[in-house]
């Protein structure tokens, strides 16, 4: 493969350089029916799972067909999306904030052919390329992160568990039988790039072993004060150690020491210093958190709470994780009222009852012990259910 220059001259990087132009303007990309009725929509309707109709004051209508997607997609899949858009939608399409693809048409008769086209497309392996769904009171796409595909800190994979869980819950993606929308998210480590802290159901990668210390190399690869400062619980301390090097030589190195008993495995030291790896096959796995939400509807946005302290990683299909989530979802489906989000349901019946109806164990891991606010999660009332 021969290097082909774009025109960029490494010796004169500023030559012809264009910077700070920002993104393309959104108005370049709006389908005509959207542009014409911008800011003048009157109401909408979900005419069937995955298909929305928005009515404008003008009387215009736009029909949107929403499809699930593995957001990890190659250019060939994207080009296929473009083909579909060209064929049905005058070349326009959009992605949602949860990584679904939306195809829009400006009249009802265009919906059916579009749907059929989408539903007919499958990968060789057998999965749908563009399953229709993800609207209303159901499950939509899982917001997720990089996992073992690209990141250095994960305690679990992202795309793998997401695929497994979405297969498990696929029915709920294609129908609207739940009491309210249920948003599932995954983040492969505590950095929580998936912002899972406010999801109805959250899957969180979690380490359970304190960092290893790569004494011999640490001082070369890391700024010791930054590694020390990174630890929220003060478990990392600078230390001089006498070690036997890889080549059998004895030498004194500047390194750090980790107080294992204090560590709560957040990985922040590793973020600052590659010589403190945490990952471990037996130690790593996932936490399930539940009951968060973002909308202000009826109740204020709220954080997800830890419901299952740990499930081991079980690639490729994370069966225990899938089962636990399905069990929680079923209990919710059965017990919650119309419009009631997972968290509001759990609060109404009481968390003690939540654990019971979900058949989940309660353990000391679920009691908050992180800083002062922990107190506010304990029970300061005699009101409880047996």
């Amino acid at each position: 493969m021969a290097f082909i220059s774009s025109g960029y001259n490494p010796d004169k990087p500023m030559e012809n350089r264009i910077t700070d132009i920002g993104p393309r303007k959104y108005t370049d990309f709006l389908p005509p029916v959207i542009k014409n009725n911008f800011g003048k929509w009157a109401w909408h309707e979900i005419i069937e799972p995955g298909v929305l109709m928005h009515k404008a004051d003008s009387g215009d209508e736009v029909y949107t067909v929403r499809c699930g997607a593995a957001r990890l997609m190659g250019v060939h899949t994207i080009r296929e999306i473009c083909d579909i858009a060209d064929k049905h939608c005058d070349g326009y399409l959009r992605f949602t904030t949860r990584n679904n693809v939306e195809f829009m048409v400006d009249s009802k008769d265009k919906v059916e052919p579009l749907k059929q086209d989408l539903a007919s497309r499958k990968f060789d392996g057998g999965s749908y390329k563009f399953p229709i769904g993800g609207t209303g009171a159901g499950i939509t796409n899982i917001v997720h992160t990089q996992g073992w595909v690209h990141c250095h800190t994960p305690a679990t994979d992202a795309s793998g568990p997401v695929k497994a869980v979405m297969d498990e819950l696929f029915e709920e993606f294609q129908q609207m039988q739940l009491p309210a929308q249920v948003r599932i998210s995954l983040a492969c480590c505590l950095n929580m790039c998936g912002a899972v802290h406010c999801s109805d159901i959250a899957i969180l990668g979690y380490h359970r072993k304190p960092p290893l210390v790569d004494d011999e190399y640490l001082d070369n690869l890391c700024e010791i004060p930054l590694a020390v400062a990174a630890c929220p619980v003060g478990a990392v301390k600078p230390k001089k150690k006498e070690i036997v090097g890889e080549k059998g030589d004895t030498k004194t190195v500047k390194t750090v020491e980790v107080n294992d008993d204090r560590c709560m495995f957040c990985g922040n030291c590793y973020t600052m210093c590659p010589s403190l790896p945490l990952a471990d096959q037996e130690g790593d796995g996932v936490v399930i958190m539940v009951g968060g939400k973002v909308s202000n509807r009826i109740s204020a946005p709220k954080f997800s709470k830890v419901a299952v302290a740990f499930i081991p990683n079980e690639p490729p299909r994370w069966p225990k994780l899938c089962e636990a989530i399905h069990t929680i979802l079923n209990a919710y489906k059965e017990g919650a009222r119309k419009y009631e989000r997972v968290g509001d349901w759990a609060e109404r019946i009481g968390w003690e009852r939540f654990f019971e109806v979900c058949g989940l164990d309660f353990s000391h891991h679920l009691i908050d012990d992180f800083r002062d606010p922990a107190y506010y999660t304990w029970r300061q009332t005699t009101n409880f259910k047996f």
Binding site: P23, K163, Q281, I298, K338
Partner: protein
């Protein structure tokens, strides 16, 4: 035959949900076939090696990526995440595997023309794999080699009129819900404000001068479809100050069962006949609705615009006309001191070009944060550390009951010397004249 055996990954090809494994394999096959005769600028087997390294992770339960070095494009401090494989000999195709963040268009509408341009560029100079989209909102180009970064940037800016997004200690790529483009509830043009501020703050976006990352997100209404309240240092959320508009005929149509509630969102289950009392009036959190003479009434003064009734009856109820947004600040993930949602700072502000008032709030906050924020301290953490009062001072905003969910329950009130008659200068000997030891 595949370069690496991937028996574990292969199991993820079955099942209905789109398989990322199949997608990567598709890309791998396409690269080997190379129908268009592309002169790939990074190894042809990049996708194979990605599958290989991923299979290894599936086997040993750990990642095989190392910390990224400092790679990027000249003059920018963000937009590229460096990434190297920790088994480069086994998987040379992904020995370097940096991502590039491409600033998505507001609302994520695309033309196929433009998307194809992106695809062609990335096929040619990268792995051909993407994330559509990253959690912050960017188009994520997944995996290329260091020497391609400037080339890609050059082509993006020169040929596609397209810039990179953010990473590092700077303004991150702003993101918004689709807003007025297709939603009847949007209280302002989320896309325009997102676009406008992205352009206004290009310098902040590309050149890290902040203590840490900083995110803007724009929700058109309190439903929060871009989750700004959970994921942005500054969350701009639409709201209105006047009354909900009621179409009483449509109310009757809902009651009569002619229109499905909540836009049909619950259609696949039999929830029984729609009951406006139970489903709307009784669920209104402020109890400010009632039926009177067959008409739905709202005491709008008590309404907190939670959206519930509007969500349930979109054809009967519409947001008010005096529209604007609330600014909330400080959301972040848990590292270090626990997660935060954004807290109310400006209850109501108009969102009209050129958005000067909004920019004033932003810039006051940045001035304070850049002055006082410690290295890797998010805005939310600074507010916690120095107190909400300091945030108010730095933005010149008056304390309001709307700032709190409830007033403080500890009485540890700081008073400033100016506020206390006589000041703090006192003389112990004078005191001792009246109070012996």
């Amino acid at each position: 035959m595949a370069k690496h055996q991937t028996p574990l990954l292969d199991q993820l090809e079955s099942g209905p949900w789109p398989s990322f494994v199949s997608d990567i394999k598709r890309e791998s096959d396409a690269r080997h076939t190379n129908e268009k005769g592309v002169e790939y600028q990074i190894p042809e087997d990049v996708c194979d090696d990605l599958l290989g390294v991923l299979e290894l992770s599936f086997k040993d339960g750990t990642t095989h990526w190392k910390h990224g070095g400092i790679v990027g494009v000249f003059g920018y401090g963000g937009g590229v995440i460096g990434r190297y494989c920790d088994q480069p000999e086994m998987f040379p195709g992904v020995a370097h595997f940096h991502t590039m963040r491409v600033n998505q268009p507001a609302g994520k509408y695309y033309t196929s023309e433009y998307l194809r341009q992106l695809c062609d560029l990335w096929d040619f100079r990268g792995s051909g794999l993407t994330n559509m989209h990253g959690s912050t909102g960017d188009i994520v180009f997944l995996g290329t080699r260091t020497e391609q970064l400037e080339e890609i940037f050059y082509e993006l800016t020169h040929n596609l009129d397209q810039d990179l997004g953010g990473s590092g200690s700077n303004l991150r790529t702003p993101a918004c819900c689709l807003g007025e483009s297709r939603c009847e509830w949007s209280c302002y043009n989320t896309q325009e404000l997102s676009y406008h501020l992205t352009q206004e703050y290009q310098d902040e976006l590309h050149r890290p001068a902040f203590p840490y990352k900083f995110k803007f997100k724009f929700d058109g209404c309190p439903n929060g479809c871009v989750a700004s309240i959970a994921r942005a240092d500054m969350s701009f959320i639409g709201t209105w100050a006047d009354d909900i508009k009621i179409d009483q005929e449509a109310v009757q149509a809902y009651i009569g069962g002619e229109i499905a509630p909540n836009g049909g969102a619950h259609a696949d289950r039999d929830w029984g006949k729609f009951d406006i009392q139970k489903e709307v009036i009784d669920l209104c959190p402020t109890e400010c609705m009632w039926m009177e003479d067959g008409k739905l009434k709202i005491n709008d003064r008590e309404c907190t615009r939670c959206m519930h009734c509007i969500n349930v009856m979109p054809r009967a109820l519409r947001i008010g006309d005096d529209r604007g947004l609330s600014i909330l600040v400080g959301a972040k993930a848990p590292i270090l001191d626990g997660a935060q949602l954004s807290s109310m700072l400006v209850p109501f502000i108009k969102a009209e070009e050129p958005y000067d008032e909004i920019k004033e709030v932003i810039e006051n906050i940045w001035d304070w944060w850049m002055e006082e924020g410690k290295n890797r301290e998010r805005l939310g953490e600074l507010i916690k550390r120095q107190g909400f009062q300091k945030l108010l001072q730095s933005t010149g905003i008056k304390a309001l009951a709307q700032h709190v969910q409830e007033p403080r329950h500890n009485p540890y009130i700081y008073w400033h010397e100016e506020e206390v008659p006589g000041g703090w200068d006192r003389d112990i000997n004078e005191f001792r004249k009246h109070h012996q030891r």
